[in-house]
């Protein structure tokens, strides 16, 4: 992959900042998401809450269904492939997807190796629970990072934990002496130059979004106040009572994430939120997939 292409792919993520990326399963839902102010949509056959309920192996979506969504909206369209399944990624590139999510929401295809994302022209976003995972994915060619959170639960606790973990590790590296960075690189299992970048800039070298369990405008604003540059909302919208209204409220809450008065009014009469599952009740921890 040319250096230039990787730069352009990181820059597309920059354009998505301050926005909300929404999971959709049909062209109709994609249109609702676009009208509600989504800055991109994630096309998938089943949203994480349903994948969780149905169980079994979950794979890349039908390309025809993804194309239907590409035709329905003018905003960028993302789609998921299984961790390590580079052929699913090749197919998504062949249909000119705007972003591939190599995602722990689907069943992993490889329990050792992630996709060598440097071999692709289209950009990749990957989930991470901590700084080491984030930098390993970036080293493999990811041009955007998101917290893993725990998808399909409506419980934000894990996204919060992952974002706080990443922030505190970044702060630690920023405060280190330069001669300590070599050992840190060894411990994180990442190249020295990525650790050095974090040391000098106090942030990841790519855009970092929050994902997993965001269900309300307040959840979205919480993740933004914790330092996320934007938010993915999966099951939280189309598993709720009034998807259109909730989606639109979450979009506004992400723009004005420190304005409590506004978010309070946005949170009125949103109808039922998605039914959540608490962390202790979860049988399948998707965030444990792909480290």
């Amino acid at each position: 992959m040319a250096e230039n292409r990787y730069g352009l792919n990181k820059q597309l993520a920059q354009m998505l900042k301050g926005g909300v990326i929404m999971d959709v399963t049909t062209p109709e839902q994609a249109k609702i998401a676009e009208e509600a102010g989504a800055s991109a949509v994630m096309a998938l056959e089943r949203i994480p809450a349903d994948i969780r309920a149905a169980g079994g192996v979950s794979r890349m979506s039908d390309p025809k269904m993804i194309k239907g969504i590409q035709e329905a909206v003018s905003i960028p369209v993302m789609a998921k492939c299984r961790i390590g399944h580079f052929v699913e990624a090749q197919l998504l590139e062949a249909i000119e997807i705007d972003y591939i999510d190599e995602s722990e929401v689907l069943s992993p295809a490889d329990d050792v190796y992630h996709i060598d994302k440097t071999k692709f022209k289209v950009p990749f976003v990957c989930g991470a629970r901590d700084l080491g995972e984030a930098l390993r994915r970036i080293n493999e060619g990811a041009s955007m990072i998101r917290t893993k959170g725990e998808p399909g639960t409506g419980d934000v606790v894990q996204a919060v934990r992952h974002m706080r973990m990443m922030n505190s590790e970044i702060a630690k590296i920023t405060a280190m002496r330069e001669d300590e960075l070599f050992q840190e690189a060894k411990e994180l299992q990442v190249p020295y130059d990525l650790v050095q970048y974090v040391h000098e800039n106090g942030k990841l070298p790519v855009v970092n979004f929050a994902a997993g369990g965001v269900a309300t405008p307040a959840d979205a604003a919480l993740m933004m106040q914790l330092g996320a540059e934007g938010v993915f909302v999966g099951s939280g919208i189309f598993k709720s009572g009034n998807p259109k209204k909730r989606a639109s409220a979450i979009v506004q809450a992400v723009t004005n994430y420190t304005d409590a008065k506004l978010i309070a009014s946005l949170s009125e009469d949103l109808g039922e939120a998605m039914v959540g599952i608490n962390e202790q009740e979860i049988e399948l921890l998707m965030a444990e997939r792909g480290k």
């Binding site: 230039n4 352009l8 597309l12 354009m15 301050g18 102010g37 003018s74 590139e93 723009t255």
Partner: protein, 202 residues
């Protein structure tokens, strides 16, 4: 000099960084109350035009900014910002400020695989780096619009009265000469009274 950067969604921080390098103070416009502060120019950044247009209306900022542009306040627009200013969109029924008499084609180079980087001459400035991300281009211009740059026969940068608009992202490259040009437009506006846009277009 203070420049207000519309900060409802997109790459507004990058715009602020470039302007701050030129010693300009920036404020962010996220909600209606932000419009009450004094400022001398407006930046419409890159991002998603559908999201930005919708938020500007929902957050009750659209009419005030529209009026300020019509009254001649200098505005600098990149990518999504160009779409917001356009008099007409070739492949979209939506429309926004309509203060710039040009026709714009959205996603004109296709999806992300069509994004590209090049270097090209900009009138009065010289050769500058240009980054196009799922970019639009300008397919038609009114005769009063000054064309500043073309790439492969498509217009990518224009100036019309106090509006400077382009389909690429000067804020993503190190070169600050385009931002410098905008800052000079704001200085000129501050030192003389500018004629407002007299006719309605679009």
């Amino acid at each position: 000099m203070t420049i207000a950067v519309v900060a409802v969604q997109g790459a507004f921080i990058e715009q602020e960084q470039r302007l701050q390098e030129l010693g300009v103070d920036c404020i962010e416009l996220r909600k209606k109350e932000d419009l009450e502060q004094p400022y001398d120019g407006i930046v419409l950044p890159g991002g998603e035009s559908t999201v930005q247009g919708k938020l500007l209306k929902e957050l009750d900022m659209f009419d005030t900014i529209h009026k300020q542009i019509q009254e001649g306040m200098p505005v600098f627009a990149t990518c999504a910002g160009l779409i917001l200013l356009a008099g007409e969109l070739e492949n979209d029924t939506r429309s926004y400020f309509k203060t710039l008499p040009v026709t714009v084609r959205r996603n004109a180079y296709g999806r992300q695989l069509g994004s590209f980087h090049t270097e090209q001459e900009v009138k009065g400035i010289g050769v500058i780096p240009m980054t196009f991300i799922r970019a639009p281009y300008i397919s038609k211009v009114d005769s009063k619009v000054e064309v500043l740059a073309t790439v492969e026969e498509h217009i990518v940068a224009v100036k019309y009265k106090n509006q400077l608009a382009m389909s690429f992202h000067p804020e993503l490259d190190e070169d600050v000469r385009i931002h410098q040009k905008f800052v000079e437009m704001v200085k000129a506006y501050n030192s003389q009274s500018f004629e407002p846009l007299d006719e309605k277009i679009g």
